[in-house]
């Protein structure tokens, strides 16, 4: 089912939790709502579930306006952060519950519940009570319960946050597998960018109730529309340098050292040469340039850390600290000055006043 949010706004007293959100979610895709806590992602999910009613705007499920439709009539399934399995019912009864509510005959309901339990691989636990299950198993039961009535939309509210690191990876893959097997439109709320990157077809990044960018995760990483998106995505985070732009709209003047650096392309929109800009470069987009004749940023190495297959370089340019992930082949020592070059097409330039990306 295609989901459309048109100018969706949610206000609690005088706090605007969600501010004019416009998103169209295509049928059968998995979309992550991503953002720091308090950004309005859970509020958005609760509006989709019908547990909150939007203050303004229109919410469409397919062609149907659902603003005023109660959750019980929305044909949705939902997995809660703490799973909310009914503690007094067995696993089988938990999964059958939505069917019982839909007045499905008992025999058929049990059959469908068993099928669903097999899909999420918990068919050996059907007689247990939720309290006798591990976190991952509870998670699977919750997914089965959400999917058993064949809803048109599956909502997941930070479903992995209560699991340990390994289980989280496993369940992430499981959710993706189940989603693709069933082909259901799914909305997944998370504050973990790595989770969102790995699982989603598209990511909606939110901040302060406003949608920041809605695009496939790799696009969001490679072409952030603004500084917030660039900073939120990626670990270690993107490096930001306060720079000035030369009159040719292509030359960057670096802070403190007044060195210059040539951009690959002209800035997209006109900017005053006096305006304050931020140059953004992801740590892994730096490489050490040994040819002194070539362009690059000369920095002083503060510390080198070996992490797995890479070296993490802590460096300083004037007053600004930088992080670069470089190949361990090049030997670098603390206190040395090295020249860091940027991979072509990987520079970002943000207008500090409004955060807009001026290059992409």
């Amino acid at each position: 089912m295609k989901i459309q949010l048109r100018d969706i706004t949610m206000r609690f007293d005088n706090v605007t939790a969600v501010d004019r959100l416009n998103v169209t979610i295509e049928e059968g895709t998995l979309v992550s709502l991503l953002g720091p806590s308090g950004c309005g992602k859970s509020t958005t999910l609760f509006m989709l579930a019908g547990l909150y009613q939007p203050t303004e705007g229109e919410l469409y499920f397919g062609e149907r306006l659902v603003n005023k439709v109660e959750p019980e009539n929305r044909e949705i399934g939902m997995v809660f952060q703490n799973y909310a399995l009914y503690p007094h019912l067995t696993v089988l009864k938990n999964i059958m519950f939505p069917l019982k509510m839909a007045k499905v005959p008992k025999k058929e309901a049990e059959e469908r519940a068993r099928e669903m339990a097999a899909l999420v691989q918990i068919d050996h636990l059907l007689d247990r009570k939720p309290s006798q299950l591990s976190g991952g198993q509870q998670q699977r039961v919750a997914i089965a319960r959400a999917l058993v009535k064949k809803p048109k939309l599956l909502l997941l509210d930070e479903p992995l946050s209560n699991l340990d690191a390994r289980l989280r990876l496993e369940m992430r893959e499981e959710i993706r597998r189940i989603q693709q097997e069933v082909g259901i439109t799914t909305i997944f709320v998370t504050h973990d960018q790595e989770e969102a990157m790995s699982i989603s077809d598209k990511v909606l990044l939110m901040k302060d109730g406003k949608g920041q960018q809605f695009s496939p995760p790799q696009d969001m990483y490679d072409y952030p529309e603004n500084q917030f998106v660039a900073q939120f995505m990626g670990n270690p985070p993107i490096n930001l340098l306060s720079v000035k732009l030369g009159n040719d709209l292509q030359t960057i003047v670096l802070p403190d050292t007044e060195d210059t650096y040539q951009l690959d392309s002209l800035v997209k929109s006109y900017v005053d040469s006096n305006s304050k800009l931020e140059l953004g470069v992801r740590p892994e987009d730096f490489y050490i340039e040994s040819d002194l004749a070539k362009a690059g940023i000369t920095v002083e190495v503060m510390m080198v850390e070996r992490i797995g297959r890479d070296n993490l370089l802590y460096a300083r340019l004037g007053q600004t600290n930088l992080r670069a992930i470089v190949s361990p082949d090049v030997k670098v020592n603390q206190g040395e000055r090295v020249k860091l070059a940027i991979r072509p097409g990987r520079t970002h330039l943000f207008d500090r006043s409004n955060g807009q990306n001026l290059l992409h």
């Binding site: 579930a49 019908g50 547990l51 109660e70 959750p71 019980e72 009539n73 949705i76 399934g77 939902m78 809660f80 703490n82 909310a84 009914y86 503690p87 007094h88 519950f97 939505p98 509510m101 839909a102 009570k129 309290s131 319960r145 959400a146 009535k149 909502l155």
Partner: protein
């Protein structure tokens, strides 16, 4: 934290417990044991505390006393009339008071007032409410075209009047307990149930009732025991009489009457032990049922 019980620690603990133990011992344990022995006294000088003969005569007497059987019957009717209705009504009210409504605190106070008010004061008001000529209840029924009922003077209506009073009196306590039980239910279950397609009634039936079962169990045990012990409501509502023609005489009233009215201490004690045995059996049944039903 502290590992082994030592002599010193035990002595210290006993020292703290003694004041309460003395009071409980004097006013509870001693009378319980004493009355057990008293129930076997068949010939006894109350003033000189001399026992001339012991035997089972008191028990034989009460089991052959139609008034005793009548009082057991009345008590049973009272328990059956009060307990289920009281639990259902207070659960419904507690559910409403648990919603987001205006003046919630005020309503909670109002419903709790009967519990903290003196039975005697309350009974005076109810005597007026039940009054056959000037009572507000008959006045209200008059609007529905129902002719006046002699609530307190008709033997057929005395027990229903008593039951109404007792239900109303017990509501406050039950509601408070139910409210605390309701507040312990995680709101997530209701959200989940709504998503799963459960309407308000289905949510009540499938979430509230089962998740509240331990609270309901507690309330049912307490109110059955309390109902078996009913006395002051009877005494106050019917002006010291056990209702018209003894129609509202309960076991405890019977015990009271044998003790203070007829100075028949042995019989009163025997009747008290029969009551204890009845309550004991009922509680055992409840524990058995509770173990099967309250198990999540």
């Amino acid at each position: 934290m502290n590992d082994k019980p030592t002599m010193k620690k035990t002595m210290k603990a006993i020292l703290y417990l003694i004041p309460a133990l003395l009071i409980i011992g004097t006013f509870s344990f001693y009378p319980i044991i004493k009355s057990f022995f008293m129930s076997f006294y068949t010939d006894y000088d109350y003033f000189k505390d001399l026992v001339f003969a012991r035997g089972l005569d008191n028990y034989t007497f009460i089991f052959q006393d139609p008034e005793f059987w009548k009082s057991i019957q009345n008590t049973m009717i009272f328990v059956i009339g009060v307990v289920p209705l009281s639990i259902i009504i207070s659960l419904v009210i507690a559910t409403f008071l648990n919603q987001k409504i205006k003046f919630r605190g005020l309503f909670r106070t109002i419903y709790f007032i009967p519990f903290v008010t003196s039975v005697v004061a309350v009974s005076i008001v109810w005597r007026w409410i039940f009054h056959s000529q000037y009572g507000v209840l008959n006045y209200a029924l008059g609007f529905l075209g129902i002719s006046p009922i002699k609530w307190l003077s008709d033997p057929d209506w005395a027990m229903p009047s008593l039951i109404i009073l007792a239900i109303w009196k017990g509501l406050g306590y039950n509601i408070i307990i139910f409210l605390s039980g309701l507040q312990n239910i995680d709101k997530q279950y209701y959200l989940a149930a709504r998503i799963d397609g459960a309407g308000a009634w289905e949510r009540f039936k499938n979430i509230t009732v089962p998740l509240l079962s331990s609270t309901t169990f507690f309330i049912s045990i307490v109110s059955i025991i309390n109902s078996f012990k009913v006395f002051d409501e009877v005494f106050a509502l019917f002006g010291g009489q056990p209702g018209p023609a003894g129609s509202a005489e309960t076991i405890v009233y019977y015990i009271y009457n044998k003790f203070y009215g007829e100075w028949n201490f042995g019989v009163a004690s025997a009747a008290a032990y029969v009551l204890l045995f009845i309550i004991f059996i009922f509680t055992l049944i409840q524990l058995y049922v509770g173990k099967k039903k309250v198990n999540y």
